[in-house]
Symmetry: C2
Subunit: 425 residues, 2 copies
């Protein structure tokens, strides 16, 4: 099977290395050899540590869609639109199989691309787009396919998890750890896709579609990140028996689809609490299978290449079908659930003036909104006179939390915007 690779960054060179290293084994498993025939990237001359001179260099990536000597195109350019999308459309329109690791493109254009694939009955595969090397696309699309799935959730961004668990271990603050992660190459120069939850939201919207048989609806994901999580939050959460993780949660509710990426408190004994460093993990709850848990390395050259080549092997074996587990027209269009109805315990952290009446004001706002308090922790004043006040609520509707915050919005007693995190489970 002759493959064209477009994009020769970390993942692209990883795919070349993997196909070199495991060539014989892959041929046995795939039923035929899989070889790179042609490549294209922005820069032909950059030293990538792998020999690319043995492959055809395609000056125009778009020609790869039409070439008869290419059986599959692998898109590793990235970006939701632009060249990646143009290439994907051209490849599928030409009736050629496409493998991609591009979650942004799938979150925005996955259904239209799947329709193109359907029209020609050819594969559009994307295991590497979510959770790196963990076969969670396959786990949902096929492994759990017999189940009505009520929720799918997990740790979908390795950079955020690396930052949070480093903050946890070393007691350091976000900005400091982010800077170090950037220097080490674990975080991008522009960290917003990771740190603000957008990357995890792309992935979550894809998982939700597979899990629930619904149309991808990235626009309906409520997205939060980890910039507002402080070392103090991690410390207070630990004292209460929790760890803080950026978790994407999707639920198929009676009133619609609930999708949210947010920093949450995870109980110590929960499987997600043990997910450290750049690992990813996904849980799905099925009505017959119960809870399924998958974890592993969610990013990096090796794991992502592993997922890309797994897709190639499926194609070589002729084992593939509808990209989103069913025909696109079968995917249900569901409204966005009212997140205010979400019931759960909530962690609130206030930074307040060190003066009388502050706790009274906050407590009154919660009482007026009908929020019942489970515990309150107030630590002595900071160096700057500010006081950290942590409140954990009993089960409460999130709309009541919003009412509380609205009521406190103008208060002189608050030094900073309150930080709100749901408590998982």
């Amino acid at each position: 099977m002759r493959v064209a690779l477009v994009g020769l960054g970390t993942v692209g060179t990883g795919v070349i290395r993997l196909l070199d290293a495991n060539r014989e084994l892959i041929a046995r498993r795939a039923g035929r050899p899989i070889e790179v025939r042609a490549v294209n990237a922005r820069d032909r001359s950059r030293d990538r540590g792998v020999d690319i001179a043995r492959f055809d260099w395609a000056d125009d990536m778009m020609e790869l869609a039409r070439r008869d000597d290419i059986d599959v195109v692998v898109e590793l350019i990235g970006g939701s639109d632009g060249p990646a999308l143009a290439l994907a459309r051209a490849v599928l329109s030409a009736g050629k199989p496409l493998v991609t690791a591009n979650k942004a493109m799938l979150a925005h254009h996955g259904l239209s691309l799947a329709k193109l694939a359907e029209q020609s009955g050819i594969p559009l595969k994307y295991e590497a787009a979510v959770a790196g090397g963990i076969p969670v696309i396959k786990g949902l699309r096929e492994g759990a396919a017999a189940n009505e799935i009520s929720s799918v959730y997990g740790i979908l961004n390795g950079t955020c998890n690396y930052i949070l668990t480093t903050m946890e271990r070393e007691g350091r603050d976000f900005n400091e750890v982010l800077k170090e992660a950037q220097e080490l190459g674990y975080a991008e120069a522009d960290p917003s896709f990771d740190a603000d939850g957008i990357d995890a939201a792309h992935k979550l919207s894809i998982l939700a579609s597979l899990a629930f048989g619904t149309q991808i609806d990235f626009g309906a994901v409520d997205i939060g990140g980890i910039r507002s999580v402080s070392a103090a939050d991690i410390r207070e959460a630990a004292a209460l028996g929790y760890r803080i993780r950026l978790v994407g949660v999707a639920e198929n509710r009676a009133d619609g689809l609930f999708q949210r990426v947010h920093a949450v408190l995870v109980p110590m004994h929960h499987p997600l609490a043990s997910v450290e460093g750049s690992l990813n993990a996904v849980l799905a709850e099925g009505n017959f299978v119960g809870s399924l848990f998958f974890s592993g390395r969610g990013a990096g050259e090796g794991p992502t290449a592993s997922a890309v080549v797994a897709d190639l092997i499926d194609i070589a074996r002729d084992e593939y079908g509808d990209p989103f587990a069913m025909q696109v027209e079968q995917l249900a269009k569901r409204p966005k659930a009212n997140s205010g109805d979400t019931i759960g315990r909530v962690y609130l952290r206030f930074l307040v003036q060190d003066k009388p009446g502050v706790l009274a004001e906050i407590a009154a706002a919660m009482r007026d909104a009908g929020v019942s308090i489970e515990s309150v922790i107030q630590r002595g004043a900071h160096e700057d006179g500010a006081v950290l006040l942590v409140v954990v609520t009993h089960d409460t509707a999130e709309r009541a939390i919003r009412e509380t915050l609205d009521q406190l919005a103008g208060s002189d007693n608050l030094i900073a915007e309150p930080v709100v995190m749901p408590i998982l489970g």
Copy 2:
């Protein structure tokens, strides 16, 4: 797609319930409805809590292999040979797809059955045979297919894990917990397949074949069970920072295939240490993907039915291929590795006389065999005058442990056969 179910025990009725409950969703995902057309079981009249009068009753299960109105046969009889094997051969020989949950049959006859499937180019699927609802067959066969896998290991028998974790939680002994588990229906009246590690060994031999591209070699599995694990072992292990689990380990070593099912000490922070009750879990180590971890419910009506129907959906979608990931003739025949070469730390528990010189004798035997001791725990005498002596070694070759035990074999100082458990990783 018209299905015949043979065997209407827990799993068979679970499949009927699942297909009833999730009918519409499954039709969307499978691309066509999946319906039970005919059934067969030993007893037609037994009340199973599901209506089977609406299905054809096949008086002779063998006729199902030949019937034109049956597209797939699901074998849920169990047993490595006998009727299950006769049915499987007849179905595949007739060119009809087969789904089975029968690990014993696959461990013994998997390759010859796979050859029959290959000859007709039809599916032989068996996701339910290993780890119940966890899609670990798919995870290895497809998800990790790009990798050279060095080891696959995990908790493969829910009954043993239930017994061990109950012993752990309640400080009770094996026989007592087994009896209770039998009364609750969690363990069979004849517990040997579970408690002696045979069931886990069946599953391990299947996983090893998929992971390594080798022929199934059940006869080469070293098999131990959990009957010799005492409440005292669990207590001592806990004091040392370990939990005891029955773990199946398969490694693709330079000198051959290492396969063993044994009670082992698992470090508290290892993912397998958190696997509680009847859950199962599997880890695989790939040369590009790194460590993959899957867990979930490994037995019971719902999870097993989920796996059976996932197979049916794959067949309905026409997404299937070689049962053991490659053509049978491509599977390597590997010798059995010399387990004496296995290097690791080992837990030894002796029950000894309470008199001078006992420790000296044991320590001398270990010294003579070249076994280096990491720690020794001796607790005060039992009520019956016996003393519990626990030794943890440094890394040592297992042949040296055997030499130690051989040397001690005739000793009057030992009250009972020593208990030996490897320490994981």
